[in-house]
């Protein structure tokens, strides 16, 4: 059943590790990845729905921009480290989103300017605890005191999921993404032998890409949030992810 995950042992400096196992991969799989990301998660939808009309916010690691249009009464700036994903967001945008390419640890925004922020399935891609905490601290710095940040991270405890990660497993993993590269369509009237060889060719064109994840165990996200200087006002588990709403104080 599918391609297994691999343990990730970071030998390179964190930035290089993330370049190889996160940024490069997303740029490569972006269009395919984007097709699979269209349904907003309920807690995120609720969080965005609860923001006061005309609030301004950030979506750090916005991917294909699926959360940027959820609440039309908000003004949001979506950023992502992957130009490939921002290209997808731009195509989905209908010229309504505000987008930029930026690093989550070097956001191009004034401190304290925004009312809220979200960072959905992003912080688990930073490869050291220090960088994960820094990322939360950095996003918090961009919102005003009293403003809230919603963070989602992939959980280690997801025994029922397809991947089957569970307590006690390695937390730093390379997760496969099977990329189906499109091959040229056969010409009409091509004979059977040609079709067969094309099928074989298609198999060859299936390529597995690995993305680095740090799988969060229970309580870890809260611990990171506190170390980042935030106050956790709500937290929980949804669809194989730990989430927390963190207030800037």
């Amino acid at each position: 059943m599918g391609v297994p995950s691999l343990p990730s042992e970071a030998v390179a400096p964190p930035k290089d590790h993330e370049q190889q196992w996160v940024h490069d991969v997303y740029n490569e799989i972006a269009p395919h990845f984007s097709l699979t990301r269209y349904k907003p998660w309920p807690i995120v939808e609720k969080f965005l729905g609860e923001q006061i009309d005309h609030s301004i916010g950030l979506d750090v690691g916005c991917g294909n921009g699926k959360y940027l249009g959820v609440n039309k009464k908000l003004y949001m700036i979506g950023s992502d480290r992957s130009l490939g994903l921002i290209d997808c967001a731009q195509s989905n945008s209908g010229n309504l989103f505000s987008l930029c390419v930026a690093d989550g640890l070097h956001l191009p925004h004034e401190n304290g300017r925004f009312d809220f922020a979200i960072s959905i399935a992003v912080i688990h891609h930073f490869s050291t605890e220090e960088r994960r905490i820094d990322a939360i601290r950095h996003i918090l710095s961009k919102i005003r005191v009293g403003g809230r940040l919603l963070v989602y991270c992939w959980a280690l405890e997801q025994e029922k999921s397809r991947r089957g990660y569970k307590e006690g497993d390695a937390q730093d993993v390379l997760v496969p993404w099977v990329l189906q590269k499109k091959t040229k369509k056969s010409l009409k009237g091509a004979d059977e032998a040609d079709e067969k060889s094309e099928k074989e060719e298609k198999k060859v064109e299936q390529e597995t890409k690995y993305r680095y994840y740090h799988l969060y165990r229970e309580g870890e996200l809260i611990d990171n949030a506190v170390k980042a200087g935030g106050v956790v006002v709500e937290h929980g588990y949804e669809k194989d992810n730990w989430w927390a709403i963190i207030e800037r104080v």
Binding site: H54, I77, D87, C100, A102, D103, P108, N111
Partner: protein
Amino acid sequence: MRTAVPAVPQYIIWRDERKISNRNTPPTTQTQTQIAHKKYNTRNMKFITTNFVKCAVKTCDSSVDAFPLQYSDCQIVQEELEYNPEFIVHMLERLEWNAVVKVARDLGNESLPPVKPEGLDPIMEDDQVILRDLHTLLVETQIVEGKMVCRNCEHIYFIKNSIPNFLLPPHLC
């Protein structure tokens, strides 16, 4: 308190002659900015975005010169987009007006009033005109290509295909 606002529209930047021909205010510095008449499929970087982005370099965090960025060699397009007066009224409250004026000047428009217009009401006819013009400036004016330069560290960021890119070279992050 309401600021006195002239009845004549002050907020127009290069109203595209294809859109409105009788109120076209030509840019004062044509050298820096060119109006693109090319059709683009997707655009994104609206003028309003310039009010929410600054230099990404850590050491520029405390510098007042890191925001707004200085815009140069910009290609601008204007296209008609849905007018939402309520959005403009509320966004106006959150805009750094000095930055609006500065960036407009970078792009060749010197006609913005130095003080932010306040208390605009979409029901009032005079205010409608101003809100429309603000809509043209903030939403319909889009930067397709260009450079953004930090006035503090002088780092240059690029806008390509209407997407501003703030990734830093290794020595700056």
